[in-house]
Structure formats: structure tokens, C-alpha cells
């Protein structure tokens, strides 16, 4: 099939195409013979100029295109370089600046799709030729298009009230914009609230976090919904409609002042249910507050354990005790619907389940703890009021900290969780400070990149903490010598001295790594974003757009994007807030004009397109008996276009003839029809 007619004009316009192939330093040029492609494209019909250049995306590269547009009166531009997902906008802007409609531009991906994935120069060049030819044929059919601008609702939704969500919320609220902060747990604070001290400065986590938590609670621009979950998200950048479920606390939030009289009055005199905040190391009652500085300061009921919910036969002493009448055992979930323009996801991470690495004996030996449990144990407000004790109630004389539990492990997660080396050092310091015990760190590599981090490691070495390089083979209670009796023995190959050692300790701490939350996949589906291979949320570009996603208006920050520590989470949260604010400040965003429209004269009125549209953008005009597409609702998927039996729907940027010509261009053999082309040119 040929899309060009004999004299190379289309619908009366003679295409004057400029083709530019980028070397991308050596990234492309090392595998693709750019000069050959340049020459090949120069021989194609309609091509006025064909050039190769070291870096097309650079200013001089863009200026090259702009100069040619003006001097050679080019009306179509094709650039063969990296992925359009990276630089399509760059080149469109450049083309537009030169006075040409930006949609007369087309980009060929010869880096991610060719040079980086091919190891044969000849084949890579042939593939680049084919892709370039397809683009040249396609760009003939491009049309001048106008972008559609949509206004940005200035309200922002932040999902997750850990340190990242808190910081982002405060940044945006301080800029005078309204924030809805939605947190699943009964309190904000996230993982950071559980920590005792923070590395490397050893300032107390609560001291730096709780003021921010109360700022969130009191900020006039923040609507804080804890114990709430996002149920449904609809819409697109600038105009998202979000449904939120507020789970019942059985306590009226506005009335409760957090006096906790009800907790004292509970019919259970003793707390007997595991306290989630303390990692199950202490007990709570069916009516409880997660921790003393919980924000908001509101108690809640656990219907699973409250007698009244189970048997309806409780004396309800709690209700009697509340003089503000805040308890409402008949509370039902409340559903909120909000409209926001942008969303920041800061849903955090989960720690690795140490039971999945049975060699370390977690849950098998009572004195094997996870790092998060130890955080609570060393914490002054924790289950032991800061006393580090074994399960038997003794002060440990020796403690082993095992690094990389669940990280850098083919059997668990391959990635480095980035924080474990540093928090292990911190815990070593705190345990030594609290107990005076001998502390052993078993590490594979010490990873301490960060401001003041290496210095902290140095300090620990001077404090007399022992460091053993080697991955621990197992933790066992099988004593071989009297010194190992009633102790846990850590068996490890010390790779620095090349000896297998057995080190008996009283307590073992497992430095568990960070992994995506169990429902990360559900969240990503809901917000229409992607996850990386590991299951963390995928950023738009690892370096240049680290907090953006492929869905406009959805940003990510903190541990949900990958393992990171507090300073990095805060920095990312600030970046995400800035991205949201920049959209809000602009007031509107330009959308890709790839919407579909109907050629009325061709439409037979069969209505087959109408049920296909997921956005109900297509309706039927009973008067004209034709289908009508509401462009404001169309998101540009093109499903209706593919289904239309009479070919009466066209999708901008992806028109049938554009794609047909692309198919045709891809399949012509380089070489064979070069002669053909010369004939056409003659």
C-alpha cells in the first residue's frame, strides 16, 4: 500500500520534511550507523534535509531544527533519538518556537528501542532505518492541532500521613492551598512515630515529629481524615473526584478530647489485646488510643475485641464515663466525596516479614526481635519504658544485630533497603547506651552514604561496637560448648579473617528491610499509575522526574517509591508538594490533543461505539441519527476508533492513515525500494 501519490504531495500540500538523527553521545552512535541512516533518510521522498548531530536535545541541537524550519521552510520534522516518553515535549516546544505547529513533529525511538537492546551494529542500523522510514511516511499525514487546556482544581489530596505525607501537606497548606490528608490508621505519624531516635544526629523522633503532627491537626488549610481510606478515584489531572470511606471509630471525633477516662472505665480492668503500635509487645484494651501523642487525640473502639460488639451485654461503663457524650456505638462508616486537582501518594512501606527467613529463628526463639520491635523497646514510652530486656526479663550482656534481613538476598529481595546499615548502627549505640552490652553487627557491606553517616559509623567503631563482615548462616540454640548454653549462637563466616565463627549472644536483632505494602498494587490500580518490578510505585523518570508518575497530576513521595530514610522522604515530599503547587500556580494544564472525533457524513448511526467508551463520552444524537463525541470527556484511548465499522471516527495523532503509513514504512525493505523512491523523486 502506498500512501504517497506520484508527485509526492498529500492533499495538495508538498511535504518538506526535516530529519535529524541524534548520536546521544555514544549511546546511539556506538550501535547505530547514524551517518548511514541520515543518508538513507535523505533519499526518501519529501525529505528536504537530513542531519545527524551529537546531542539533539541540547540547545544547539534544537536550534539546528529551528533554523532549518525557518530557512528551508520545513513543514514536517522527524527526530530519531531517545524515547518519546522522555523528550517528545522538548522537541515539540522547539518546533513550536520556530513557528510550526508542534504536532507536525514525530519522534523515532532508536535508543531504548534499538541501540540499547541490540548487539549487532548492522541489524541495529537496519532497524533504525525501518523506524525512520515509518516516521517519515507517517509524518506526511500529521495535522495541525490545538492543545486543550483544563483548569486545575487547587485542592490537593495526600494519601498517607507518615512523615512524607505530613511534610507535603504542611508545605502545600502553608502556600495557602487546601489539603485533604487521608490516613488509614487512627493516627498520623507513620513509621517515624514508632522510632526512638533518628540517625545520625540521634535526635528523638517524637520530638521532631510530634510538633509537625499537631501543626497538621491545627492547620486551617488541612482537612485531616484519619482512620479513612480512599475507595474510588475518577477523573484526570486538574479534576479528580475521590471517594473516601471514614471507618467508624465509634467515637465522635469532634466531641472527644482524648481524656481517656473511657479507657480507665472499660470493663476490662487489665489490657489484654496486642497493641499494634508497640508491635504486639504490650497490651491494650478494646477502647484505646494508639500512643500518647496520637494525632488526632481521639480514642477508638476495636469492634473485634469489645464485648458489646460481640454480645451486646456489656455494662458500657465507658459511655457512662464520657461526660462529653462522645461515644456512639452505632456509628456507621461515613462516605465523603471530594474534588481535587492533584494527588500525592505517600503510602509508605512495610518491613520485611522476618519469619520468611527461618534461618534467623524469628518467632522460634523468643529473644530474636525485629528492628521495629527494638525501636519500641528502646523507646522511653515503649512497652518496657525504654528498658532493654530479654523475654526472661534480664538485661542482655551481648546482642547481635544481623544486617540485610530480607535485603540483598536472592531468596527474599534483591534490593538494598538503604536504611538498615544506618539504623543498625543507631540501635547498636542505643542498646549499648541502655545496657552496656557487647554489641555485634553482622554486615555484608557497610553502606553509609549521607551527610554525617560515615562519621556516625566511625563514632560507633570508637564506642567499641564489634563489626563482623559476613552474612549470618543461622541463629541456633544448639550449644556446642558450655559458653553457648542458654544463649543464641550466631553462626557466621567472618570473611575478613576467613574463619567460621560461632558467637553466643543473649538477644538477636534482625535488621529487616523495606518492601512495598501488600496493597500497593490495589492503590496503583486505583490511581492509574504503575509499579516497578519490585512493586514500589514507578516514577516517571528515575532522575529527571523522580516524584512524578505517568499519570499527570499524581505524584509520589517517601517509602512507597522505594526504600529511603527520613531526610530523603522529606526531600521527596517537598519536591512532590512543589510539583503540585506548580500545577496549581499555572492554573491550567495542556492536555495531549489525542482525542477522537466523528466525521458525521460517514457515521451510519450503528451505535456500536457508544458502549465501548469507558468515559461515556459518546452519545447519540436522535435528530441527526449520528454519534457525537464530547471532546471534554474523551481521554484518547482510541478504542472507539478501532471499532467503528464505517471508519468514521478519527483519533488525533493516531489516525488510521498515519498508522497504516507507519506499518507500510516499517515493512519496506531498505535497499529494494530505494530505486522505487528515486523514481518517485525524479
Amino acid at each position: 500500500m502506498s500512501n504517497t501519490n506520484g508527485n509526492g504531495t498529500i492533499k495538495g500540500i508538498t511535504p518538506r520534511i526535516g530529519f535529524y538523527i541524534c548520536h546521544c553521545g555514544h549511546n546511539i552512535a556506538a550501535m547505530v550507523d547514524v551517518e548511514k541512516v541520515q543518508k538513507f533518510v535523505a533519499s526518501l521522498p519529501g525529505v528536504v534535509v537530513s542531519r545527524d548531530y551529537k546531542y539533539m536535545c541540547s540547545d544547539p541541537g534544537q536550534e539546528l531544527v529551528q533554523k532549518d524550519i525557518k530557512e528551508l521552510k520545513l513543514n514536517r520534522i522527524v527526530v530519531a533519538s531517545c524515547s518519546p516518553l522522555l523528550h517528545e515535549h522538548t522537541f515539540r516546544r522547539a518546533v513550536e518556537k520556530a513557528g510550526l505547529n508542534p504536532f507536525f513533529f514525530h519522534m523515532v525511538n532508536i535508543r531504548e528501542n534499538v541501540s540499547w537492546v541490540t548487539d549487532n551494529r548492522e541489524q541495529a542500523t537496519a532497524k533504525a532505518n525501518a523506524l525512520a522510514r515509518a516516521a517519515i511516511q507517517r509524518v506526511f499525514f500529521h495535522k495541525s492541532l490545538e492543545t486543550k487546556k483544563v483548569p486545575i482544581n487547587p485542592d490537593v489530596l495526600i494519601v498517607g500521613g507518615g512523615i512524607a505525607g505530613i511534610h507535603a501537606a504542611l508545605t502545600i497548606a502553608n502556600a495557602g492551598k487546601h489539603v485533604y490528608l487521608v490516613e488509614r490508621e487512627p493516627t498520623i505519624g507513620g513509621h517515624m512515630a514508632m522510632f526512638d531516635k533518628t540517625f545520625p544526629t540521634l535526635d528523638c523522633a517524637a520530638c521532631i515529629l510530634t510538633p509537625k503532627m499537631s501543626s497538621v491537626k491545627n492547620h486551617p488549610n488541612i482537612t485531616l481524615w484519619t482512620y479513612s481510606e480512599v475507595e474510588k478515584v475518577e477523573g484526570f489531572v486538574g479534576n479528580y473526584k475521590v471517594n473516601i470511606k471514614r471507618k467508624p471509630r465509634y467515637v465522635i471525633e469532634e466531641l472527644c478530647v482524648g481524656c481517656m477516662d473511657c479507657i480507665d472505665a472499660c470493663i476490662y480492668k487489665e489490657a489484654k489485646y496486642p497493641d499494634e503500635f508497640n508491635q504486639g509487645l504490650s497490651k491494650r484494651k478494646p477502647i484505646y488510643i494508639p500512643f500518647p501523642q496520637a494525632t488526632p487525640q481521639v480514642v477508638l473502639f476495636d469492634p473485634e475485641t469489645c464485648i458489646d460488639f460481640k454480645s451486646h451485654r456489656c455494662k458500657k461503663t465507658c459511655i457512662e464515663a464520657c461526660d462529653r457524650k462522645a461515644i456512639d456505638l452505632k456509628q456507621v462508616p461515613e462516605y465523603k466525596e471530594i474534588n481535587v486537582g492533584t494527588v500525592i501518594l505517600a503510602t509508605g512501606f512495610k518491613t520485611y516479614d522476618a519469619e520468611k527467613s527461618p534461618q534467623y529463628g524469628y518467632k522460634k526463639f523468643p529473644n530474636v526481635f525485629t528492628s521495629l520491635e527494638i525501636e519500641r523497646i528502646v523507646n522511653a514510652s515503649g512497652p518496657t519504658n525504654g528498658e532493654v530486656l530479654t523475654k526472661e526479663g534480664n538485661i542482655p550482656k551481648s546482642v547481635g544485630i544481623i544486617h540485610c534481613v530480607g535485603s540483598r538476598d536472592e531468596k527474599a529481595h534483591k534490593w538494598c533497603s538503604r536504611v538498615c546499615c544506618m539504623y543498625s548502627l543507631k540501635l547498636a549505640h542505643l542498646i549499648k547506651e541502655h545496657t552496656g552490652a557487647e554489641v555485634y553487627n553482622f554486615y555484608i557491606d557497610m553502606r553509609t552514604p549521607g551527610k554525617g553517616y560515615e562519621e556516625f559509623y566511625d563514632k560507633l567503631m570508637n564506642e567499641g561496637v564489634h563489626f563482623v563482615r559476613g552474612r549470618v548462616a543461622e541463629v541456633t540454640d544448639w550449644a556446642l560448648i558450655p559458653e553457648e548454653e542458654h544463649k543464641l549462637t550466631i553462626r557466621v563466616e567472618d570473611t575478613l579473617i576467613g574463619v567460621v565463627r560461632r558467637i553466643p549472644v543473649d538477644m538477636v536483632v534482625l535488621a529487616v528491610g523495606m518492601e512495598p505494602r501488600e496493597d500497593a498494587q490495589d492503590i496503583r490500580r486505583m490511581f492509574n499509575i504503575s509499579c516497578s518490578t519490585e512493586g514500589f510505585f514507578l516514577e516517571r523518570h528515575p532522575k529527571l522526574a523522580p516524584v512524578s508518575t505517568f499519570t499527570d497530576g499524581i505524584f509520589i513521595a517517601g517509602g512507597c517509591q522505594g526504600p529511603r530514610d527520613i531526610p530523603d522522604s522529606v526531600a521527596q515530599a517537598g519536591a512532590a508538594a512543589a510539583e503540585a503547587l506548580s500545577l496549581i500556580s499555572a492554573g491550567s494544564i495542556e492536555l495531549e490533543p489525542n482525542t477522537a472525533s466523528i466525521i458525521e457524513s460517514f457515521c451510519s448511526g450503528c451505535k456500536s461505539c457508544i458502549p465501548l467508551c469507558p468515559y461515556s463520552a459518546i452519545s447519540f444524537n436522535e435528530g441527526t441519527k449520528k454519534a457525537v463525541i464530547n471532546e471534554a470527556l474523551c481521554k484518547g484511548c482510541g478504542t472507539c476508533v478501532a471499532a467503528c465499522p464505517s471508519g468514521s471516527i478519527i483519533q488525533n495523532l493516531f489516525e488510521d492513515e498515519q498508522i497504516f503509513s507507519e506499518i507500510d514504512g516499517l515493512l519496506k525493505f531498505a535497499g529494494i525500494e530505494l530505486e522505487e523512491m528515486e523514481v518517485v523523486n525524479a
Binding site: N109, L131, N528, E534
Partner: protein, 168 residues
């Protein structure tokens, strides 16, 4: 000019791929960024959604000389546009029947769900498909079509030759 000797040595299939912008195209980019090497026979056309793939695109690709067509979309439930991939799946099933009738082997047309994180799957799917299509050999519809055209011309000539004396 392609070297005819070399061509005989090993048949290199030409495969046209339609990758959706959000999942499979992004995965192909990831494969690139991860420097995964795979067979160079697949040439990708980017579309916004696998739902945009008109069965005509596939037929046209075969008619223009493709030995195989690969369609890549988001996993079920993951479509950026809710359900474009299901629409594609529906069409694909119907098209498979048509292709069977046309004598085009099933392996020549393949639909795969590849999410943005599955750079590795891009590689394995492409390598696998190239291998399978290579074993099937060239489809060469354009050549067959021109043979048929020639045949028709010959037949026409023959008919004309026979008809001339009758009228004379």
C-alpha cells in the same frame, strides 16, 4: 541491497508490534534502560491503548509483508483507560478465527500483557516470538499476491486470445 546469499542462510522474520503507551511501551523503554538485548526483528508502533488496535492494522501488516504481529497491552484490570485491553482481547479472539481461515498460523499473531515493570518480559516475549515465527518461515503475502496477480493477468491474456478469433 540485501545480500541474497545471506538471506538464505537464516530467515529473519519481520514483526510489527503495537505497544500501548502506558504499559508495554514503557516496559520496552525499561528493557532499553536495563540494556537487555533481544532480537532486532520487532519494530514497534506506539499507540495510546491496545484498544486502538484495529484488526485492519494487523491484516494490513501481514499484507504489507509482516511475518508476525505482536500486540502488547496492560494486564487485565490495569488498563490506563479502564478496559481497552479487554476490548482488544475480544477483537483478537475473533481475528484469530479469521486468520485461521486465511491460512495464517496462530503463532504469527500474538497478544501479550506486559506491564510497565516487566522489561524482562518484553525481551522473552520478543525472543520467543521471533524464534517461533522463524521456524514457521516467511509468510510473504505480498509475493504471493503478486504471483496471484501475475496468474490472473496470464489468465486474462489467455481468455482474450481465445476470445479474439471467435469475434473475428
Amino acid at each position: 541491497m540485501p545480500n541474497p546469499e545471506k538471506k538464505e542462510k537464516k530467515f529473519e522474520p519481520k514483526i510489527v508490534a503495537f505497544f500501548c503507551n502506558w504499559c508495554t511501551y514503557t516496559a520496552a523503554d525499561l528493557a532499553g534502560v536495563s540494556r537487555l538485548k533481544y532480537a532486532p526483528n520487532v519494530r514497534v508502533i506506539r499507540i495510546m491503548c491496545s484498544g486502538r488496535v484495529d484488526p485492519q492494522f494487523i491484516l494490513q501488516a501481514f499484507a504489507s509483508g509482516a511475518d508476525g504481529v505482536l500486540i502488547g497491552g496492560c494486564h487485565p484490570g490495569d488498563c490506563h483507560y479502564s478496559e481497552g485491553n479487554y476490548k482488544m482481547l475480544r477483537r483478537f479472539r475473533l481475528l484469530q478465527r479469521v486468520l485461521k481461515v486465511l491460512g495464517i498460523a496462530e503463532e504469527r499473531c500474538r497478544l501479550e500483557w506486559i506491564s510497565a515493570s516487566e522489561g524482562d518480559k518484553v525481551k522473552t516475549v520478543i525472543n520467543d516470538m521471533v524464534e517461533k515465527v522463524r521456524n514457521l518461515g516467511p509468510l510473504s503475502i505480498p509475493a504471493k499476491m503478486s504471483d496471484i496477480d501475475e496468474e490472473i493477468k496470464e489468465l486474462e491474456k489467455e481468455i482474450n486470445r481465445e476470445e479474439v478469433p471467435q469475434h473475428a
